[in-house]
């Protein structure tokens, strides 16, 4: 039997008993809606967590322990030897030493060429950390230079991507000034600064130099609170301002894979280092909670799909028994047992398609409602996610597919029953 007539006959059979069809459709609808809603919530919440904590998932930030008892391999100092041993740890792809700049840098004028409102008395101290070029190179635009320019050159800096969101979302509205353009348009901006000048009392260095910072790009590998500059520049400034030499104040370990991160962190701890996991642990905690909640809710959704399959099985089973004579008539006019089986399965597939489509619509509406509730419940902030849900096309396909699958699974036994019915006995 061809698909067209089969589906047409199946649709008319369903229309003949609209109450039963509506209940079965509702069961499929609820299953698909629950599945799509919960999976979309898991995906959306994970995306939101990634936007909140966008750090590279493979990076482990380590610092010398506050209370250093010494690891089994020696004291917890981030010297050259320790960096080499960290690089040799299993699962570590690269080690990037970081050096906090101990020379204060203050900006008292706006970036050149950028029309922003800068209050006359405003001075901003810019925390900075020195990093190797290799750490931020993947995020920089082609041709961007990230190397020590020497005493007279503009110092290249890289900022966190989120800084722009925070500025546009909070600072610009507070200052009633225009928001900044997208990140690529800002690359190359220069900011006049005073090296050695601090906004804090007694923290200004004995001498202050005029200098310039030039924005080389944005990266998720740079913390929100600081500007990253070449580590050679930090060492040069430390020498120029008489600060003590040190190889690194912290280090970023790049794991070969995200799965290696826990083992790498544990090995670093055994060496006597502390893992600075402020952002990472927050992201991991949020990610774990989202994953756990998503898995639990996904399980609930699958249970609902299984219940939908049971509902369809019970309903279609009853329908097949009630329609035994009709099915026998089909056999009398030329239908094979396989045709009758296919008809019942086609009815189930239609229920699944309609129920699944409705369910996906219900999930979208429920998600929109939840987002509106979230918007009312959380204060306006650039970090507030616009949505907690993500509906990628594959999820729509999966939602529909699972609804159809649940209906088909539920219809297996009724379809087999329909094929087994003795037409002569049913017609008698």
């Amino acid at each position: 039997m061809r698909a067209g007539p089969l589906l047409g006959l199946a649709a008319r059979s369903l229309r003949a008993d609209p109450r039963r069809a509506a209940l079965d459709t509702l069961a499929c609808c609820l299953g698909a809606a629950a599945l799509a809603f919960f999976v979309a919530l898991g995906l959306g919440a994970r995306d939101a967590a990634r936007r909140l904590f966008p750090g590279e998932a493979r990076l482990v930030e380590i610092v010398p322990a506050q209370v250093a008892l010494g690891g089994i391999l020696g004291p917890a100092k981030l010297d050259t030897d320790a960096l080499a041993r960290l690089e040799a740890l299993p699962g570590v792809e690269a080690v990037y030493p970081k050096l906090d700049l101990k020379v204060p840098i203050t900006a008292a004028r706006p970036p050149e060429g950028l029309d922003v409102h800068w209050p006359p008395s405003l001075a901003i101290q810019i925390p900075a950390v020195g990093v190797p070029a290799a750490l931020v190179a993947p995020d920089l635009p082609p041709g961007a230079r990230f190397e020590d320019p020497g005493p007279d050159g503009a110092i290249p800096i890289v900022l966190s991507r989120r800084l722009l969101d925070v500025y546009n979302g909070t600072i610009a509205p507070a200052w009633k000034t225009r928001t900044l353009p997208p990140a690529p348009a800002l690359v190359g901006l220069q900011l006049p600064v005073q090296l050695g000048q601090s906004i804090l009392l007694y923290r200004t260095e004995a001498r202050v130099e005029e200098g310039r910072l030039v924005l080389a790009g944005f990266s998720d590998r740079v913390p929100l609170y600081a500007a990253a500059m070449p580590i050679e520049t930090v060492r040069r400034l430390h020498r120029a301002f008489g600060k003590p030499e040190e190889p690194a104040s912290r280090a970023a370990l790049l794991a070969r894979a995200q799965e290696d991160v826990p083992a790498v962190a544990a090995a670093a701890r055994r060496m006597g280092f502390a893992v600075d996991d402020t952002e990472r642990s927050m992201a991991e905690r949020v990610g774990s909670l989202v994953g756990l909640a998503g898995a639990a809710l996904g399980l609930v959704a699958l249970v609902m799909c299984a219940l939908a399959a049971l509902a369809v099985a019970q309903s279609l089973g009853g329908s097949v028994r009630a329609r035994a004579k009709e099915l026998a008539v089909l056999r009398a006019v030329g239908a094979s047992a396989g045709d009758v089986r296919a008809l019942v399965l086609a009815e189930a597939a239609l229920l699944g398609v309609v129920g699944g489509t409705l369910g996906l619509g219900v999930a979208r509406v429920a998600a929109a409602g939840a987002d509106r509730a979230l918007a009312r419940a959380l204060p306006d902030s650039p970090l507030r996610p616009e949505t907690l849900f993500a509906f990628p096309p594959w999820l729509l396909a999966v939602g529909l597919g699972v609804a159809v699958l649940a209906a088909l699974v539920g219809a297996l036994a009724p379809a087999a029953l329909a094929a087994r019915l003795d037409p002569a006995r049913s017609l008698a």
Partner: protein, 222 residues
């Protein structure tokens, strides 16, 4: 066209074996209308379903249009039935969710290859016109009288241009006038070359039947 040889079939009822067909032999040629009469429960319907290949649990040989049901796999049996046999039932057995025309065209859904939609509709309308119900093609069964329903059922049986027509008490639910019209229709179909086998209580069938046989104790008597 119809050939039944040494047909035997029995049922188990409360542990006891009831032989409902006990060596039935019957030949029905094209253009012949054979009526089988008999008491209720004598096995007339069973004989019809075995003849039409709907009941496969029997002993002996049942052949329609030169092909033995037993020799055919289930799917082939269904296709052969759809192509060569038309059924008419006492209770019409129209599908309630379909219109008269859709009921008539139903066999087309199971033809292989299926006729194109336009041809399917044209043939269905033609079959309905032949039974005088072209104007009621859009009516559903519950909107038709008993006689009209039976005529729709006959049109459905004729849709596939079968070579054999099997009718199970076709006038059982009809008033006298409608029953007479149906009987007359069967006579006309036989004259057009169909092999018609009717099981019935209706004495008037004998007026148009080539032969009237009585089924008694599992055997046919002339």
């Amino acid at each position: 066209m119809i050939s039944l040889r040494s047909l035997r079939k029995s049922f188990r009822d409360a542990g006891e074996e009831l032989r409902i067909l006990d060596g039935v032999d019957l030949e029905v040629a094209a253009g012949e209308l054979v009526a089988v009469v008999g008491a209720s429960g004598s096995g007339k319907s069973t004989l019809l379903y075995v003849t039409g290949g709907l009941d496969a649990a029997y002993e002996g040989e049942a052949t329609v249009a030169g092909r033995s049901w037993r020799a055919l796999p289930e799917r082939e049996r269904a296709r052969h039935r759809g192509a060569t046999v038309g059924f008419v039932f006492q209770s019409f057995n129209l599908l309630p969710m379909l219109t008269a025309l859709e009921n008539v065209c139903l066999p087309a859904d199971f033809r292989d290859p299926a006729p194109p939609p336009a041809e399917r509709r044209a043939r269905g309308l033609d079959a309905l016109e032949r039974v005088g119900l072209g104007a009621k093609r859009a009516k559903r069964p519950e909107q038709l009288s008993g006689g009209e329903r039976q005529r729709v059922a006959i049109a459905r049986a004729l849709f596939a241009e079968p070579r054999v027509l099997l009718a199970d008490e076709p006038t059982g639910n009809l008033d006298a006038a409608s029953g007479a019209a149906v009987i007359e229709a069967f006579g006309a179909l036989a004259r057009q070359g169909l092999a018609v086998l009717v099981v019935t209580h209706e004495e008037r069938v004998s007026q148009v039947a080539s032969r009237v046989l009585r089924l008694e104790h599992g055997r046919l008597h002339g």
